[in-house]
């Protein structure tokens, strides 16, 4: 039941760029015929100075502020991107690309290799910097020399930081929300649980499930359930579900989803498998666990930003235990040491890591104020 668009290039659901030159990856391989699926909102001005790139999180996609073609849901950051919103599409030309390794039209493990078969596990292991290489190629194709801003939350924040560190002349403002400069051990651990759940599913077939009529739905759903817990906070889970039972008066003394929170997580797992490719999940989370911006720059994070001309804004949330405030503060300190113009704020919000996607009015003001700097 693979619904991945990447096996149907040229789909009219999204715009797609095919790169003329192979992409040189961090692992040493060259990836040919790379496709980048993207969406844009607003209008690029005459001197191409109003472009804002938004980078999506682990399981996000390019449908930032427009209806998702598979789920029919509104764009994932509809509340922040649009006319008169913090990222104002009347003013900015907003670009969002599906990451390399993704499954919404950009080249990933479900894409066909030169032999006409899906890459599956033959797809090279990619990095966050490789994703950004593809973004830079897209900017080149769109004629955008320098972005007004790059904005991203979670894995999107990693991409924003990677762009600033590795292509310092391409961006004037960098906003990383609920992000990190190096994936902490706890996050690597959670993602490993997710990957192992997928790989333990007999339908995974060492990744070669394309065309078999099956796919590791159970494994992918468990991966999603585990990850989803990390996106919430204890407080928000308690408020939303408590110990309440799901459509029943008493416990069943069985293993149905008795509790609302169980039912909710199962629902999250089931809806996820209809829009995401399990191998993409493996590759994207691997890229995140490899992410260490300091390591790329001689072990000192400040070196990654030496001489940076950009302004930075870092935001964390007090209820986010996945990418907690000290992660953002470390980046702020490194940027201070590099002499960069940096803002950093920990906002109070109850929703855990997911706060960046939800109703946090202070975040709206910070985004709008920073983009107008």
């Amino acid at each position: 039941m693979s619904t991945c668009l990447s096996s149907t290039p040229g789909t009219d659901l999204t715009r797609t760029l095919t790169l003329a030159a192979p992409l040189a990856l961090d692992c040493g391989q060259q990836l040919a015929d790379v496709r980048i699926a993207y969406e844009t909102y607003g209008t690029l001005n005459a001197d191409a100075s109003n472009a804002v790139m938004v980078c999506h999180a682990t399981t996000g996609d390019q449908f930032l502020a427009s209806q998702h073609p598979l789920t029919g849901k509104p764009g994932w950051w509809n509340r922040s991107v649009g006319t008169g919103k913090p990222i104002d599409t009347d003013r900015f030309f907003v670009i969002c690309a599906n990451v390399l390794g993704g499954c919404m039209g950009s080249t990933g493990p479900a894409s066909l290799a030169s032999d006409g078969e899906p890459y599956a596990m033959r797809f090279p292991v990619i990095t966050i910097r490789d994703m950004v290489r593809a973004h830079v190629a897209l900017l080149d194709a769109l004629g955008i020399v320098r972005l007004h801003a790059v904005v991203g939350g979670s894995m999107g924040g990693m991409q924003a930081l990677s762009l600033a560190a590795n292509w310092p002349d391409r961006v004037e403002r960098v906003m990383a929300i609920a992000a990190t400069a190096a994936m902490p051990a706890q996050n690597i651990a959670f993602q490993e649980v997710g990957r192992q759940a997928i790989m333990a599913d007999p339908d995974w077939r060492e990744g070669a499930y394309y065309g078999t009529g099956g796919q590791p739905d159970a494994g992918l759903a468990v991966a999603r359930m585990a990850a989803h817990i990390t996106y919430l906070s204890e407080e928000s889970m308690h408020a939303k579900f408590g110990r309440r039972l799901q459509d029943r008066e008493t416990k069943t003394f069985g293993f149905d989803a008795d509790f609302q929170v169980e039912s909710y997580l199962r629902h999250q797992g089931v809806t996820f498998i209809s829009r995401f490719d399990a191998n993409s999940y493996l590759y994207i989370t691997r890229a995140m666990s490899y992410f260490d911006l300091a390591e790329e720059h001689g072990g000192r994070l400040a070196e990654a930003f030496a001489g940076t001309p950009a302004r930075y804004c870092l935001v964390s949330f007090d209820s986010d235990w996945l990418y907690p405030t000290p992660e953002s503060r470390k980046i702020a300190h490194a940027l201070n040491a590099a002499g960069a113009a940096v803002s950093f704020v920990e906002l109070s919000a109850p929703f855990g890591h997911d706060s960046f996607l939800l109703d946090v009015p202070a975040l709206d003001r910070v985004i709008a104020g920073f983009l107008n700097q």
Binding site: R311, C313, R329, A332, H333, A334, N336, A337, G339, A341, V342, S343, F344, V345, E346, L347, S348, A362, R365, V366, A368, G369, F370, N372, Q373
Partner: protein, 200 residues
């Protein structure tokens, strides 16, 4: 007072007037960014801030300022030596855990430092303590002892002593009562608050 800075609190107006155009400035304890905005908009400064209160930081970033949520006692360590022309610490010294160390940091980061603080030896404060025998609650020190952020009260004389002990040069000093200036000689009892311009 020039008209351009008339909207600022008197000590901030004084600081703003004496910062050269186009300077690099770090305002520690910058509050809602009033001084930073004035320095940026009226004096073309590269003005950045640090503030403990997250609401104030969000307000500053919303105003387009570069401000870090941080604690003067901890986070100044991450700024390079001589990275700004002026480090500003206005009405914050008396709230820090180790004012002496914060001052050393200020003069490491800034070529000059502006420091302003309420003078605890101001005569009304003295009278209040003498007369009532209780920690004074005045216009500049409006919060009761148990909830005040001011944990290290000091006087003009105390500050001068510390500067002499540490070999810090006082380039200039201003003493304020309301928005008017008071002579240096009588400052320890007549000034409500003080502004010092320092260098190593």
């Amino acid at each position: 007072m020039t008209t351009t800075h008339s909207q600022l609190r008197p000590d901030l107006a004084l600081i703003a007037e004496h910062i050269a155009e186009g300077s690099r400035v770090l305002d520690i304890g910058c509050g809602d960014g009033t001084l930073l905005a004035a320095l940026r908009d009226q004096r073309g400064c590269d003005a950045r801030g640090m503030e403990l209160d997250p609401h104030d930081v969000a307000e500053c970033v919303g105003r387009g300022l570069s401000v870090i949520q941080g604690d003067a006692d901890i986070d100044l360590a991450f700024y390079p030596d001589a990275s700004v022309d002026y480090a500003v610490l206005s009405q914050t010294l008396q709230t820090t855990k180790r004012p002496d160390l914060v001052l050393e940091e200020l003069l490491r980061i800034g070529r000059h430092a502006f420091v302003s603080f309420p003078n605890f030896a101001y005569w009304r404060v003295r009278v209040s303590l003498l007369w009532h025998g209780r920690m004074p609650v005045t216009r500049l020190l409006p919060v009761a002892w148990y909830e005040t952020p001011n944990i290290h009260h000091l006087s003009v004389a105390d500050f001068r002593d510390l500067m002499a002990q540490r070999g810090i040069t006082v380039e200039q000093a201003w003493f304020l009562k309301g928005s008017g200036l008071v002579r240096g000689a009588a400052a320890n009892w007549r000034a409500e608050h003080a502004v010092f311009l320092l260098r190593r």
